[in-house]
């Protein structure tokens, strides 16, 4: 009983940290609402370290994700013959009011909610597993730009979450 309550509180704290961090990445990216790519970056920052471990086990350097997100935008523009590198400006100020995400961010939150009984506690690797299963969008393209096989990354994330000592 006590363990269940504690696990629930831990998960709430992790969700809060994940959402705040994702929003920070979105604002730095001059976007008001975080998308899957921002949640993936946020997961890599979680102190449990499991998201980073999943990346490493899939043969990917976790810190390469952020530049890969930028690169996929440039690649997409180049595919229609445009060459434009956006110079990062000052971060946007945080949105006052209700926390909002893009549709891909919402998809992650809904999947985390739907699978919450499997998280004791919620780990960064769970977020990686969800994002790796998304076939389209900025996060998927960034992972492709990194040469990541999403199936391998998802398997690594599931294995890391399963084996985590803090489960």
């Amino acid at each position: 009983m006590f363990q269940a309550i504690r696990s629930k509180l831990d998960n709430m704290s992790t969700i809060k940290r994940l959402c705040e961090r994702a929003e920070t990445y979105a604002l730095q990216d001059q976007q008001r609402e975080p998308g899957a790519e921002h949640f993936l970056l946020a997961a890599l920052d979680l102190p449990d370290g499991t998201a980073r471990l999943a990346f490493e086990q899939a043969g990917v350097e976790p810190d390469a994700l952020r530049p890969a997100i930028e690169r996929q935008y440039a690649d997409a523009l180049r595919s229609i013959g445009l060459k434009a590198d956006i110079v990062a400006g000052a971060p946007m100020p945080a949105n006052p009011g209700v926390y909002q995400t893009t549709s891909s961010g919402r998809e992650i939150m809904q999947e985390l909610a739907a699978t919450r009984k499997d998280h004791s506690p919620l780990l960064g690797a769970h977020v990686v597993g969800i994002v790796a299963a998304m076939p389209h969008g900025v996060a998927a393209r960034a992972l492709r730009a990194l040469g990541v096989d999403p199936v391998v990354l998802k398997s690594a994330a599931d294995a890391v979450a399963e084996a985590s000592p803090i489960r």
């Binding site: 935008y73 690649d75 523009l77 595919s79 229609i80 013959g81 445009l82 400006g89």
Partner: protein, 73 residues
Amino acid sequence: MIDPHEIVVPTDPDEALAAVVALRRLADHIEREAVHSALHQGWSWSRIAQALGISKQAAHKRLSDVAANHGSA
């Protein structure tokens, strides 16, 4: 100068849609830079909104933080 007729839309939907997302992001970036510059040159929100083809309320709602950055710059 970019000739729009030279822009070839990729036949792969994933690639074509990725280009749309990247163009929207680029347009947002250019919009914010342009509004910042307009405010710096003393343009009013009415004038900016008219130039963007949107209402003053819509312009202010979407871009008021540019004004805040402009004020603090």
